[in-house]
Amino acid sequence: MFVIQPQTVYLQPVAENKKYVCDPLLWVDQFSDEFFRFAVYRVKNREVAEDLVQETFLSGLKSLNNFRRDCPEKSWLYNILRNKIIDHFRKKTNHEIKQSSTVIEADDDSFFSNFFKPGGQWNNEASPENWNISADKILERKEFMEFLILCLSLLPEMWEKVFNLKTIEDLPSKDICKELNITPSNLWTIIHRAKLQMRGCLEKRWLNK
């Protein structure tokens, strides 16, 4: 459905005895570290990432017969890797979806009471402080990114899935709902909660450390 195919423009039969112009033997040296980093941040698991890199090269090799010269190896392999990662998320999602989707709304009231008074105004202790930083400058701060990643990892798994589908797959909201088997209002609530938590986490751990 959302699978990116290697560009068909390049798919051509190879004459017999013709040597590859792409040299698969160089792939491991050239690309494996970069691909591994790309994968490991997404799947957050070294072993899974290693396997995905290996599968990528093997899948690439499999379809290499279809390539003639000038194949854009790297971006083409990246596409394969990206598909492998998406497949991985999808498998994981389908596997876990049934338990998690029913729990989303159950404890909304107690969740929001951590942040807001019954009338909808901020609780004094949860109300945002001034961070005194601009959006452009913050990106230069490696430290901020580290806390960002930490806070991201502390969010419930459902948010992680939404985040993956949104940022990595770049899916529109209605497809995210379809993938996760939730209603749009479920999705909005998940996002609202994630943002509140994320912001609070950053303020607590990064700003007031």
Binding site: L25, L58, F112, S127, L148, L187, W188, H192
Partner: protein
């Protein structure tokens, strides 16, 4: 009938989902109005943007800035898997 003034809870809701969903005209006016008058929600909205931007940046660049690499062991394992596959052909 709806109230034109949002509560902070509602305002943070609109601010949060804004990057996923286009707000209606009325909703965006309501949000703007609230942000003008509420310092806390104004901060929230600003920080929200920082978080969104950083997350996008993180996803786009993380593999370039990170220092992680494959173990040599795994590398040679992949290499021999590739060789094996080539020889099969």
């Amino acid at each position: 009938m709806y109230k034109i003034m949002l509560t902070c809870k509602q305002a943070t809701f609109y601010s949060s989902i804004r990057s996923f969903k286009k707000l209606s005209f009325v909703q965006s006016i309501q949000l703007k109005l609230h942000l003008m008058m509420c310092k806390s929600c104004h901060e929230f909205d600003h920080q929200n943007k920082i978080i969104d931007q950083s997350l996008t940046d993180f996803i786009k660049n993380d593999h370039l800035i990170s220092e992680e690499s494959l173990s040599e062991e795994k590398k040679s394992q992949i290499e021999s898997a590739v060789k094996q596959r080539i020889n099969k052909k």
